[in-house]
Symmetry: C2
Subunit: 160 residues, 2 copies
C-alpha cells in the first residue's frame, strides 16, 4: 500500500470564533466556550485533538485485538489534558501553548487474562498514528499564504 | 485564569471500526475508509487531527487579527498530511506510524498589506495550542487500564 495523503479544510463561520472542519465530505463544528471568547457551538480544537487521539486508540484496538489474542467485547477511552490559557491568550513567557500533559485511561471489557490486556494496551500505544504525532516531533510546513481579494466596501450612492 | 483541564471520551460503536467521540456533550463519529478496513461513516482520526490543527489556526486568527492590526474578512485553511500505512498496519521497521509531514496553507481575505498578513500567519503558528502539541513533544501518560466485567456467554438452557 503506497503512502497516503489525507486532506482537510477548516473555514471560519460568519459569527464569532466558530469554524467548520471538513474532510471527504464529513464535517464538524469547532468553537470556544464563552470564557474563552466563543459561542460554545462545538468542541474546542484541543478537545477535538483529544478525541482524535482516543478514536485512534479505539480503532487500533478494534483492528488488532484478535491478532493479539484478545477477545475484546468493548473498549472506551477517557482522556484529559491540562492547558494553561496564559500561554495562547497572553503569550506568557515560559508557558507552552498546548497541553502540558495528556492522561489517557483505556477501559476494556474482556475476559482475556489481564496480562494479555496490558500487552494490548502497549501495542495500541506503539501503533497509534495520532499518539506518534503527538509524542514525537511532527514537521508542519507552512506554505506561502494565499491572499484572497477582499470584498469591496459598499458604495454609498446616496451620499452624492 | 488558572490551568484548565479539558476532557473527552471515545467509545467503540457496535459495528466495524466506528468510534464515537464526545466532549462536553458535543459528539463526532470516526471511522476508516473500506481500504483500511472500515465502513466510512466518519472522518479518520488522522483527518480529525488535521481538522483540529486547522480549526485552532482559524480561531487564533479570528481572536487576534484586530489586535495584530489586520482587517481579516475571512480565513480558511487547507491541510494535508502524508502517512505510510505500512507503519500502523504492519509495524514495518523504520516507518513512523503517524504523518511524516503536515502541509498547511492559510487563505486570508483582507485588504491589509501583505506584510501584515505574513506577520499574522507567523503569530498564528506561534500561538496555536494544537500546533505546539504536534511540533513539540507532548507527554501522554497512560493510566492503569480498567478491566470491565465481560458480558457472560448466554446460557443454552435448551441444550439440557
Amino acid at each position: 500500500m503506497p503512502t497516503m495523503t489525507f486532506k482537510a479544510t477548516t473555514r471560519k463561520l460568519p459569527t464569532g470564533l466558530a469554524v467548520e472542519g471538513e474532510a471527504r465530505g464529513f464535517k464538524v463544528i469547532m468553537d470556544e466556550p464563552p470564557k474563552l471568547g466563543g459561542s460554545d457551538t462545538g468542541m474546542t480544537p484541543v478537545e477535538l485533538m483529544l478525541v482524535a487521539l482516543g478514536g485512534c486508540q479505539v480503532i487500533v484496538a478494534s483492528a488488532f485485538a484478535s491478532a493479539q489474542g484478545v477477545d475484546l467485547q468493548d473498549i472506551w477511552v477517557e482522556l484529559e489534558g491540562d492547558l494553561d490559557p496564559m500561554g495562547f491568550t497572553q503569550g506568557a513567557p515560559g508557558v507552552r501553548m498546548g497541553f502540558q500533559e495528556i492522561r489517557l485511561t483505556l477501559h476494556m471489557k474482556s475476559d482475556s487474562p489481564p496480562e494479555k490486556l496490558e500487552a494490548l494496551a502497549e501495542f495500541i500505544a506503539s501503533r497509534c498514528p495520532v499518539e506518534d504525532n503527538l509524542v514525537n516531533h511532527t514537521r508542519i510546513v507552512a506554505q506561502p499564504i494565499v491572499i484572497e481579494p477582499a470584498t469591496p466596501e459598499p458604495t454609498v450612492a446616496e451620499s452624492v
